[in-house]
Amino acid sequence: MTTLLRITPIEIVVVLFVLVVAYAAHGGARTLGKLSEAIIGLVVLFFICIAFLLLLSGSLEPQRMLPFLSKGIMPLIKTSFSSSLWVPYGELIVFLVMFPQMGKKAAFRKAGMAAILSAGVILAFSDLLQIWSMGMEYEKYSTFPLLDAARLINISDFINRMDALVALIIIFGVFLKCAIFLYAGAKGISVIFGKPSKTYIYPFALMIGALSLLVSHNFAEHTEEGLHLVIQYLHIPFQLVIPLLTAIWIWILSKRRRGSSE
């Protein structure tokens, strides 16, 4: 948020944000579910607005998408395995924490598939919008490509400063993600220590806020850590290795139990 507010001490920004996230996570899985319905409605609405306004201001040129796959499909596959798979798709593992509250297996599977597919569509759509309005080189050049794309909207010189829409999308999206992770973390801790998960939410939130200030000093450090180091040292073990081992262990145990009962 320092893009929007520069002089305000970042601690204030972080503390207030984290408190509101805690208020959301405090409500439990049901609140998170309903909240995500609201937020997805808002986000999709804003995306469509941005797309529509860009179209009206004549900024979209599908030609900018070319050349398509000029270096072949290998770079695509390489990138998806090294980064896109883990962030954001690998993070879906967090929903295993809420698995018992999610209803029947069939419904969970259907909802999960629908969620992944639609998220992919939305992300692809957003990327497409950015390329069509700015071009691939410009997209790499800018820190927040969606923001730059929205800045290009200019309809008869009146509807032209639409940065706020993108700020809303980003803030609400990040907010929901934080709330879900916070809730999952608190629930996990409550399994170990026994107290209900609600008691851990506010303390965790404040701790996360404080740590976030200590962890990254600048944007490059944030990207470097977030997109490279975290993937190697945190995501692959926690999203792939440990769940896989746990699944195999459970499978062996269930086989053994079935064997002994027969």
């Binding site: 408190l19 070319l66 000029s70 080189e137 800045r151």
Partner: protein, 398 residues
Amino acid sequence: MNKRNKLFLGIWIAALPFLLSGCWDNVELNKTSLITGAAFEPGSNGKIRLTIETMIADQLEGNKDTVPSVLQSAEGNTLSEILIRFNESMDRTLLISHVGVIIIDERLAKQGLLHLLDPMQRTRFIREDILILISKDVPASHLLKVLYPRGTLTSSKITSQVKSYRISYGGIPESRLFDISEALLSEGRELALGAISLKGSFKDANTLQSIKSVTPKASIVIAGTGVFSEDRLLGFLSLEDSRMLSLARNQVKGTTISIPNHDNTAIRLYHLHASLHAEMEKGELVMRMNLEGDGTVGSVDESIRLTSIGGYEQLERLGAEYLEKQMSATIKGVQRRFGVDIFGFGEQMYRKQNAQFMSISGNWNERFARTPVKVKAKIKLYRSELKTNHIRNEGIGP
């Protein structure tokens, strides 16, 4: 209220006093002054001299007896460094987020734009659709000093002028900050920016006296297009060439062509489209341009009979030939004088025939300069406005 609720309430209340400790980022509007225009030119000792035009708000709204803007200059090395020095002479905090036009002197442009550009592209406050123009034949700051009879700010006059020119004549190519970035980032296309100049006597142009007469003493005119290689200015194109360039880049909103050798024949074109093609055929580069347009008849002379299909076809043919000739002349002129591809043939080839382009991308501009371009044009005429043939033609009447 149980202990847990008290704790939560306590946390929320403890957070609230933070809000009371101050409003850090806010700036009251009536303590600010908007920068609406800027001009860069070479200063003394190798520095850059920035002249800014700031707006005086209530003068614009209310009484018209005073000037609408105030200009100030300062010198320094980069935009960010210079902007902070203006308060040596100006009274309020300056907001740059509403600047409309930035004029760069041709001498500075010849040395290269990049060192001016980076702060403008980076900051959130300068929007990507501000106009950036090159000043031709006069120092850039002179252009901000010329008042216009409507009493509006000079910078809004310039932006409005450029827009209207594009609708009436076909204009200069889009010269926004975004276009500069795009051109610099793209492979196979060079930058072309609009140019403005001064007509008339500059001496009293910045006083109210000059606009209190029917013929203003000085006025800002659009002077063509500046052609760049990377970020260095090479030279200028004439207004006619600028129109053709805009046409090639699909940026013309409407124009009128007048056919030579037929006095008084003119066609008003509304929808114009150019498609560029560049590919390698048998190891040789081949470039083509197809122009299409439709419009209505502006004026005719007696030799063209608009009551018959043949007349329309003749007019369409004449128009198409004229366009082809003009476009070829412009392209040849650019190839000969500047040797850079400002039309975007390289860009098209990069997009559509990527592999072929990458093999010659190293010296694209030289190859472009050597290869002739085939231009084909096609015009469709729909209507002839309110009248049919020329009034002198026989056959009108019973």
